[in-house]
C-alpha cells in the first residue's frame, strides 16, 4: 500500500509539504476550508477534501474532521506543518490512536516541551542553560511582583503554552506588571486555550538564535543555527544562516546543548531549540519548537539537506540521509517573509484579491509561496504570503541577491511589507550585522516609505501619461451607445406624440 500523506495545513507550508511528498514519490492529500477551495494546496495535491467553514476553529483546528478526511482518503500519515494543531500533543495523540503516523515528534515529546514551565525544569536537569526565572505559572500580581523584584527588572511575561510572540510582554517597572499579566493571559487564553503565564529575567539586547535538530531512531544531529533577530512585535521578519555572531566553536557548544535538549524528551523528526545569545557569548535555552519552522529553508540552503523530506523519511521509519560526519554550513542564506501587512499603515493587515504575481527567480533564489493569481487574501488566516530565500557565497552576496530578488517580486492586489525589506537590506547597521532582537524598535525610520526624487518624478510621469491616455480614449462605449439609441427611440416617441 502506498504511503499517502494528509497535509493538515494551508498556505506556503502546505505547498512546501506537498512538494516534498511528490519528490519522495508519495501521494499528497490536501484539506481545505470553504475559503480555500482554489488554494495552492488544493491545486498541487493529488486529492483534496473539504473540512468546513473558513474560521480555523471550524476547519483547520478540527481534529475530528481532519481524521475523517484521512480515513476517507486512505491516508497513512498526517503532516501538521506549523501553527494550527502542529504543537498540540492531543492532535499527535489522536493521529497515533487512529493508527496513522504523525509526521513530527511523538505526542509525549510535544507534551513535555509544550508546557514551557515543565520544559525549563527538564532542561535544567539535562544540563541545558536556561534563563533565570520562575518555573511555575504565576497569576497573583503580588506574587509576580515579588518574583520580579528578585529577578530584577526588566522581566518578561510569557505564555506557558504556545509561542510566536503572542501572550508575551516586556515589563520595565513594577507598576506595569499587573496590566501586562492581564493582557498576556488574555492573549494566551485566546491563542492557545490556556491563560497560564510565567515570569523570567529579560535579557537585554540579546540575539535570537535557534538551532535546528533532526532525529531518527538512531541519531540526533544538529544542523547549525539560524539568526532570527529581525523581529517586529516578536514576529520574525528576516532570518539567516549562519549567524554573524557564532564562531564554529560556539556553534558546536550550542548545537550540543540543543541535541541534549532533544534527547531529554526522546525527540524524533525535525525540531528547533530557541536560544537567547547575550552579547557576552552566554546563551540560554528558551523553548523547543516541536515542529518544522517557517524559516527552515535557510538551514536547507547552507546544509544541502531537505528537512521536510527527511521528516517524511523518518516518519516512514527510514534513516535520515544526513551524513554522520559533522556538517558545516556552506555559504550564506537569507529569508525575507513577505506578509500582507502594510508598513505604511503600522503593519496592519491588508486584504484583497491577488491580481498579478511575478515571483523572483534566477540564480540562487528560492520562492516558497502560498498563493497564486486569483486567490483572496482574507483575515481568517496568518498574513504570511510567501518567503523569498536566497543563497550566496558570502553574507554580502546573499544580501545583494536578496535585494535583486525583492526588486523582481511584484504582488498586485494587496499591500505587503516588500518595500520595508528593501529598506532594511540597504541599511548600514543591517549590512554590518550589528543588530539584536529589538533592532526594529530602535529603527522606526525603516518602517516609513521612502521615495527618491527620481522615483517620484518617474511615477508622476507614469500617472500623467496614463491619465492623458485615459482621457484621449474616453469615447462613447457600448453602454453609451445603447443609451443613445434609447434616447433616439424616446425622441421618436416624443415626435410621434408631438
Amino acid at each position: 500500500m502506498p504511503f499517502r500523506v494528509l497535509v493538515a495545513n494551508r498556505g506556503e507550508i502546505a505547498l512546501r509539504i506537498i512538494r516534498a511528498c511528490h519528490e519522495e514519490g508519495l501521494e499528497a492529500i490536501a484539506v481545505y476550508s470553504d475559503a480555500d477551495r482554489l488554494s495552492p494546496q488544493v491545486r498541487a495535491a493529488d486529492h483534496a477534501v473539504p473540512i468546513g467553514p473558513s474560521p480555523p476553529s471550524e476547519s483547520y483546528l478540527r481534529i475530528d474532521r481532519l481524521l475523517e478526511a484521512a480515513r476517507r482518503t486512505g491516508a497513512s500519515a498526517v503532516h501538521p506543518g506549523y501553527g494550527f494543531l502542529a504543537e498540540r500533543a492531543a492532535f499527535a495523540q489522536a493521529v497515533e490512536d487512529a493508527g496513522l503516523v504523525f509526521v513530527g515528534p511523538p505526542a509525549r515529546a510535544i507534551r513535555a516541551m509544550g508546557d514551557k514551565t515543565e520544559a525549563r525544569r527538564r532542561m535544567q536537569a539535562a544540563g541545558v542553560p536556561i534563563v533565570p526565572g520562575l518555573t511555575v505559572p504565576v497569576t497573583d500580581p503580588d506574587a509576580a511582583r515579588r518574583a520580579a523584584a528578585e529577578l530584577g527588572f526588566p522581566v518578561l511575561v510569557k505564555a506557558a503554552a504556545g509561542g510566536g510572540g503572542r501572550g508575551m510582554r516586556v515589563v520595565q517597572a513594577p507598576e506595569e506588571l499587573a496590566g501586562a499579566l492581564e493582557t498576556a493571559a488574555s492573549e494566551a487564553g485566546k491563542a492557545f486555550g490556556d491563560p497560564a503565564v510565567y515570569l523570567e529575567k529579560y535579557i537585554e539586547r540579546p540575539r535570537h538564535v535557534e538551532i535546528q535538530i533532526l532525529a531518527d531512531r538512531e541519531r540526533t544531529v544538529h544542523l547549525g543555527e539560524r539568526e532570527c533577530s529581525i523581529q517586529r512585535r516578536h514576529q520574525k521578519l528576516v532570518e539567516e544562516a549562519p549567524s554573524v555572531a557564532l564562531t564554529p566553536e560556539l556553534r558546536q557548544r550550542m548545537g550540543q546543548a540543543a541535541v541534549a535538549a532533544a534527547r531529554a524528551v526522546d525527540y524524533r523528526s525535525a525540531g528547533t531549540c530557541e536560544f537567547l545569545l547575550a552579547p557576552d557569548g552566554s546563551f540560554y535555552f528558551l523553548e523547543m519548537n516541536t515542529r518544522i519552522q517557517v524559516e527552515h529553508p535557510v538551514t536547507e540552503l547552507v546544509y544541502g539537506v531537505d528537512l521536510v523530506r527527511e521528516q517524511l523519511r523518518i516518519a516512514q521509519g527510514l534513516p535520515m540521509r544526513v551524513p554522520a560526519t559533522p556538517l558545516a554550513p556552506r555559504g550564506w542564506a537569507l529569508e525575507c517573509r513577505i506578509t500582507s501587512e502594510d508598513p505604511a499603515h503600522g503593519f496592519l493587515p491588508s486584504t484583497g484579491r491577488i491580481e498579478y504575481l511575478r515571483v523572483p527567480a534566477g540564480p540562487g533564489v528560492r520562492w516558497d509561496g502560498g498563493f497564486e493569481v486569483g486567490d483572496e487574501v482574507g483575515l481568517h488566516y496568518d498574513s504570511l504570503l510567501g518567503k523569498v530565500v536566497v543563497w550566496g557565497a558570502t553574507r554580502e552576496e546573499a544580501v545583494r541577491r536578496m535585494r535583486r530578488a525583492l526588486e523582481e517580486l511584484v504582488i498586485s492586489g494587496v499591500a505587503t511589507n516588500q518595500a520595508f525589506h528593501l529598506r532594511l537590506l540597504a541599511d548600514d547597521a543591517f549590512l554590518r550585522g550589528e543588530f539584536a532582537s529589538q533592532f526594529l524598535d530602535r529603527r522606526p525610520d525603516l518602517l516609513a516609505a521612502q521615495l527618491s526624487d527620481d522615483q517620484m518624478t518617474a511615477l508622476a510621469v507614469a500617472a500623467a501619461l496614463a491619465e492623458d491616455e485615459a482621457r484621449a480614449i474616453r469615447k462613447p462605449v457600448v453602454g453609451d451607445e445603447i443609451a443613445a439609441t434609447r434616447w433616439r427611440l424616446a425622441g421618436l416617441w416624443d415626435g410621434l406624440r408631438g
Binding site: Y356, T457, V461, A462, A463
Partner: protein, 169 residues
C-alpha cells in the same frame, strides 16, 4: 496638456505633448505601454526603464505599485486645479477628528470614554485582526467627543471608531 500630479504630499507638474513630456524643468521622450493581461505598464522616460502596476480609481485618481510601494496619486489638469484653488484650501477633505479602523477586525476593548482628554499616542481602542491585538492610538492630543463602537463588535475598514475634538488651549 499640463497636469499636476500629487504624490506623497508633493505636487509635480508634468506637461505632456505627444511622446514628449516636460517634468522638473527637463524635456524627455516618454512612452508608457500597457503589458497585456496584467495591471502593469512599462515606462520609458528617456532611456530610463520602470515597470509599474497601475489602477485607475476614476476622476484622476491612480494607485501605483512599484517595488512593493503602494502609492495613491492624483492627476488633475490646469483647469480643475484652478477651480479647486478658488474653492479654497481644505475643500473636499473629510473625517477631521474621526479615528477610523484601518482594517476589518473585532473590537476587543475600549480604552477611553466620552469626555476624556487624551495625549498624543494614547491608546483608544484595541482591535483584533489576524490573531493579533492591535492598539489604535491618538495622533495628537484631544478630547473624546464620541465612542462609536462597543467591545465584541465587528468593524469594517474605514469605519469611524472614536471622535476626537482638538484641545482648546
Amino acid at each position: 496638456m499640463k497636469y499636476f500630479v500629487t504624490i506623497g504630499g508633493r505636487e509635480i507638474p508634468v506637461e505632456v505633448k505627444g511622446d514628449r513630456v516636460t517634468v522638473a524643468g527637463r524635456e524627455y521622450q516618454a512612452h508608457l505601454a500597457p503589458v497585456p493581461g496584467t495591471p502593469l505598464r512599462q515606462l520609458l522616460l528617456g532611456d530610463r526603464s520602470l515597470t509599474v502596476a497601475m489602477q485607475s480609481g476614476g476622476r484622476g485618481a491612480w494607485r501605483l505599485e512599484s517595488r512593493g510601494l503602494r502609492l495613491d496619486l492624483e492627476v488633475v489638469d490646469e483647469r480643475t486645479r484652478h477651480i479647486r484653488d478658488l474653492a479654497g484650501p481644505g475643500a473636499g477633505r473629510t473625517g477631521g477628528g474621526q479615528v477610523r479602523s484601518p482594517m476589518p477586525g473585532l473590537v476587543v476593548r475600549l480604552l477611553v470614554e466620552p469626555g476624556e482628554t487624551v495625549e498624543a499616542g494614547a491608546g483608544l481602542v484595541v482591535l483584533e485582526a489576524m490573531k493579533m491585538e492591535n492598539e489604535l492610538r491618538a495622533h495628537g492630543p484631544g478630547r473624546v467627543t464620541a465612542v462609536l463602537v462597543a467591545p465584541g463588535q465587528a468593524v469594517e475598514k474605514g469605519q469611524p471608531l472614536v471622535e476626537l475634538a482638538p484641545l482648546s488651549t
